[in-house]
């Protein structure tokens, strides 16, 4: 049941729990309890909205920054990750396998914003060995949703 609820909420967190209960063949009470419990356990960490900022007038620049760091004794990557993720402009921080260690996703108002973050804040951290910054030029698909594409029903209207 939990997995079914999560699968649904991941795609549509706005759904009315009463309706969700109908769809999953359960009762509203059961669903509400499960959701509350999962919020408490932080299985559900938040409810966000997917926005195509391209379609708005606000200026945003998103960058993916590959960061190589020296892990610290006793703490591995956790403490350096924390140093980085505490910046509010940092959207995501992932520990990555392969050629570098941390992938940092940063949102800024302009290129200058991003570059000053990288040169002034990120690079100057003692444990940071190197950074490589990639700017996102266009988002085609985000969180499983294809952006800006409206699908049309191509089927004939009535078929046997």
């Amino acid at each position: 049941m939990r997995e079914q609820i999560l699968t649904f909420l991941e795609k549509n967190s706005k759904i009315d729990l009463k309706e969700l209960a109908v769809l999953l063949g359960s009762s509203e009470e059961v669903i509400a309890n499960e959701v509350a419990q999962m919020e408490k356990e932080q299985v559900i960490c938040g409810y966000h909205t997917l926005i195509d900022w391209e379609k708005t007038s606000s200026e945003k620049v998103t960058a993916l920054i590959e960061v190589r760091v020296t892990p610290q004794r006793g703490q591995g990557f956790d403490s350096i990750a924390e140093r980085i993720y505490n910046y509010p402009e940092v959207q995501s921080v992932y520990l990555i396998s392969g050629g570098y260690d941390l992938l940092v996703i940063l949102e800024g108002k302009s290129l200058r914003d991003v570059s000053s973050f990288v040169s002034d804040k990120l690079s100057t951290l003692d444990t940071v060995l190197s950074t490589a910054t990639h700017f996102i030029l266009k988002k085609y698909k985000d969180y499983g949703t294809i952006l800006g594409k409206k699908s049309k029903d191509e089927r004939m209207l009535v078929t046997p």
């Binding site: 109908v22 769809l23 004939m156 209207l157 009535v158 078929t159 046997p160």
Partner: protein, 390 residues
């Protein structure tokens, strides 16, 4: 000039759905719940395989019976899902959709005057295909109180000395009815005793909710008298690829292959390659689509309950078949007025046989958002009807 047409073709009526389709096509802002195909796109990995094989120039005929590779995968699939055991070399024929299987099987098996039992309501093509194959269609009227299942008694009452084939259209279009194992066992017993062949159209076999589909050909003593039709259209959302298959005893498949060879040659080649990919890696797609259909099914049943529209709970395909007899009008009239007044298209139940009168076929191969708007409109329509009736 002489009449270019045969007498036989002139006896066949065009599909009842056609008339409705013509009206709907003229209208704007219609929400249609009248479609008999999945709303999902074919899963990308399957489409990608189709593209890849086109790029690689796999554009030639395959063997008449279909790609060996595909037939092997079909045999494996049927074994793993439905406990059916067919030899991929001699007992499987890949066809252009399940529909070709229906036609070819009837043509290979019927002599003039042979009777074919067709439980109705059902898909529209069995009856004309029987006529075209010089057989005599004999319909059996299924009842709502039996959840539109075929009972042993109904079957026995329809059998004559001339009965040769029983068509088994389950999971059923248009009712959504399914036959459980015990129901099938009762039917199998009669078929064996009366020496009747079964043409089992299982195109919706992947779309059952609750219990898994049971294939009548897997029951003891039924393998040698059953032709199993299945395909990719509904389970993998591949209607436009036109690909199905029919499996059965070698003696029948062999003769069917002759007809197929002369009439069709082979099923579309790149559809066949895509189907191999579907069978190898498509199980999770099917499961996902099944879950989505099931949610919509529950939603519709709930909506009907709220608006006081009686409907037996269907456990298969993607149709519900609510009863509208309380409004004292024909299915045609109800559907036409619903279309005119609320711009919602559904298919009148009698398009699938006379005993579908008093019912509507509502497809839930639509997004939940669509269904919600449509149910809102249907609810309003039903309210109006009740007000006028007072």
């Amino acid at each position: 000039m002489r009449n270019p047409l045969s007498q036989k073709i002139m006896t066949i009526q065009p599909s009842g759905i056609r008339k409705f389709f013509d009206i709907v096509s003229e209208m704007e802002d219609v929400i249609s719940l009248g479609v008999g195909e999945p709303d999902f796109d074919t899963p990308w990995h399957i489409r990608d395989e189709g593209i890849y094989t086109l790029e690689k120039g796999k554009t030639f005929y395959t063997s008449n019976a279909g790609l060996k590779e595909l037939r092997v995968e079909i045999a494996r699939y049927l074994e793993r899902r439905f406990d059916l055991h067919y030899d991929p070399v001699h007992e499987i024929l890949v066809t252009v959709g399940g529909s070709e299987g229906i036609d070819v099987a009837l043509r290979a098996m019927l002599d003039p005057g042979d009777e074919v039992l067709i439980p109705e309501p059902c898909y529209v093509s069995y009856l004309p295909c029987v006529v075209l194959a010089d057989g005599v269609p004999v319909t059996i009227e299924l009842k709502e109180e039996n959840q539109f299942r075929l009972t042993k008694e109904e079957l026995l009452a329809a059998i004559t000395d001339k009965t040769k084939i029983l068509v088994m259209p389950f999971p059923n279009n248009p009712t959504g009815g399914v036959m459980r194992r015990a129901d099938l066992e009762a039917i199998a017993e009669v078929c064996i005793e009366k020496d009747i062949y079964v043409l089992s159209d299982e195109i919706y076999s992947e779309l059952t909710y609750g219990e898994d589909h049971v294939s009548i050909g897997s029951l003891p003593g039924m393998r040698e008298r059953t032709l199993t039709i299945n395909g990719f259209s509904k389970s993998y959302a591949m209607t436009g690829w036109r690909l199905g298959y029919i499996c059965g005893p070698q003696v029948i498949i062999e003769q069917m292959t002759k007809i197929h060879q002369f009439a069709i040659m082979c099923a579309p080649t790149n559809s066949q390659y895509a189907a191999v990919e579907a069978l190898r890696h498509g199980d999770s797609d099917v499961a996902q689509m099944r879950e989505a259909y099931n949610q919509r099914r529950r939603y519709l049943m709930h909506a009907f309950k709220e608006m006081g529209l009686p409907c037996f709970e269907p456990f298969g395909a993607f149709y519900v078949f609510p009863c509208i007899k309380q409004f004292g009008m024909s299915s045609d009239e109800f559907a036409t007025r619903l279309l005119e007044e609320e711009h919602v298209a559904v298919v009148p139940g009698n398009a699938f046989g006379a005993c579908g009168e008093g019912f509507l076929r509502i497809s839930y191969a639509y997004s939940l958002e669509n269904l919600k708007v449509a149910m809102g409109r249907l609810g309003r329509f039903v309210e109006h009807l009740r007000e006028w009736q007072k």
